[in-house]
Symmetry: C2
Subunit: 333 residues, 2 copies
Amino acid sequence: MARATIYSIAERCGVSAATVSRVFNRPELVRESVRERVLRVAAELDYQPSSAARGLVTGRVGLVALLVPDITNPFFPLLVRSVQRTAERAGTSLMLIDAEESAAAEIRLVTKLRGRVDGVIVASPRASAAALREAARGLPCVLVNRTLRELSSVICDNTAALFDAGEHLYELGHRDFALLSGPNASWAAGRRSKAVRRWARGRGVRLAELGPFRSSFKGGRQAGAAFLATDTTAAFAFDDLMACGVIAELAENGVSVPGERSIVGCDDVLLAQTVTPSLSTVTAPLDDLGRTAVEVLIRQIEAPDAEPVAKVLPGVFTRRASTGPLTGAQASA
Amino acid sequence: MARATIYSIAERCGVSAATVSRVFNRPELVRESVRERVLRVAAELDYQPSSAARGLVTGRVGLVALLVPDITNPFFPLLVRSVQRTAERAGTSLMLIDAEESAAAEIRLVTKLRGRVDGVIVASPRASAAALREAARGLPCVLVNRTLRELSSVICDNTAALFDAGEHLYELGHRDFALLSGPNASWAAGRRSKAVRRWARGRGVRLAELGPFRSSFKGGRQAGAAFLATDTTAAFAFDDLMACGVIAELAENGVSVPGERSIVGCDDVLLAQTVTPSLSTVTAPLDDLGRTAVEVLIRQIEAPDAEPVAKVLPGVFTRRASTGPLTGAQASA
DNA sequence: CGTTGAAATGAAAGCGATTGCATGGATTCT
DNA sequence: AGAATCCATGCAATCGCTTTCATTTCAACG
């Protein structure tokens, strides 16, 4: 049986296709008895409107894309969920695209999206500002965790939370810190490093800058080795993934956390709670981040010429078990 | 500037829209000089075909959906990536849908997909067989990690790998085992439990069945407590997430792994490698799973009346650090 | 009972692409 | 040279829906 269309429904109901269409779009314009009949028949026939046909005439396809650099990075699934949930509530579906960490792929993929989706959310883009701007031309676009003049963005500002983390460590007695920085290409990494540097300078403590390291468990192992080679006692890791690698590396070398060294991560992914010891970290408001991104995007889709907006959501420091007091034993180390 | 269409391109090139269309679909039918000119103008105008218009006439929208029960479960991101990669190679995009662990949502969402996508891959569905069959009527559909007569499926069979895991533990000296079973609604959980039971019976060892527990870190903590309450020395956890919870619970109670108890997980998610001790587990061929699912789905889309196929891919036991020899100390415990 | 205005419905145009068929010009064959 | 063939291209129908505009229906009113 061929798929039901508004015509097959109209025929069965003895009305015109226009009326059937109205039942779904402007039901208040249709007499109740007719409306009910149409809905009943539609249900019987398993009618689902063709998104292609509707999209062709309305110019909207009811689809927004979310481009992530690496879906296997535990940071993103929560973002994906919140974006998808918000999108569904707004009556639009989500097209997910994994750029597999390639800046070139990002650009290529965004470019291909024009005409296929109503708008795109680009999370933590690696690509250059110029390329991004060019690729997003004529396509409503919202950046997550990156700002760019001329494009809307939603970012998580961890500055205050990193200050809190620093203060927390300072109160525990730490005076010598390590900054395990993230990839140079990462905009967020730059911001985080800057925040940590600012705090350290303001607080007047020593800060050894190590890295950059990759944002992965392995990158964290390397960072951990580098951290061990210094005589610092507390480290700011670029993110949780890296922090987990650091913890593993330290454990392997018989260095206890937080007994001998303290570590804070960033993002608060699932991993941060499951690792032993659980990770003190900066919790990103992932739910808000995703929701806000969709809201901004939808506004952008509805008013394509509106000024871009830049939303900033703060992260929050969450204390767990990977940070502890500086003991006498360490101080003498 | 309004978006470019085949008409605007045709006009600029002094040819008809049909020719422009052919340049993209059957380029060999168009004279080279014309083809080049059209392509150049199309590039200049940033032309992207309207997927809606194309979909309307071809009946294909170039989109397949992947429905997962919970994107935040670390099992899925790898599947998502492999599905998306394979789909992109086949020239189709991926619509991701998170059912947020609700069987009802699964059915509702699949139903809504008819007309919006060319086909759907449903991963680890929770919904009842009847509801699934009904929802997928008239929509090419492939199940992952679940079989159902009348629908195609791609599953990972862990039976042999679980036998290997058992043998491995047996050789290490273990004789008393615990089975920490997964949710009753999970088809995979049933299969895994059955495999473990079969192995234990065949091998003639004691098997304490505990649970069911939720497939989450917390569920694992509970499972860990239950495990500790027995005098068994090795546990089969339903999956890695649960196994990590078990390890955390044991660690908190001062029980060393694998010194005092051994544990194996299932799936081999990122977590399995980052947890301390790293987890001996059954590695699922996620890449193959995703790829095969897309291939089967595409075949199904191209030949909607073909018989459903059921593919089976084997898991492989991977030894890591969470399994170790039974020491005298434990035996006496 | 004819008029009027509102409410309900229908007719038809178009959205942007694909594609079967017709056409016209160049090439080849007889 | 005329017929047959072939290649490149254009014409026009079509996909399923939305939406404007026109038309019909009908209740209410004078």
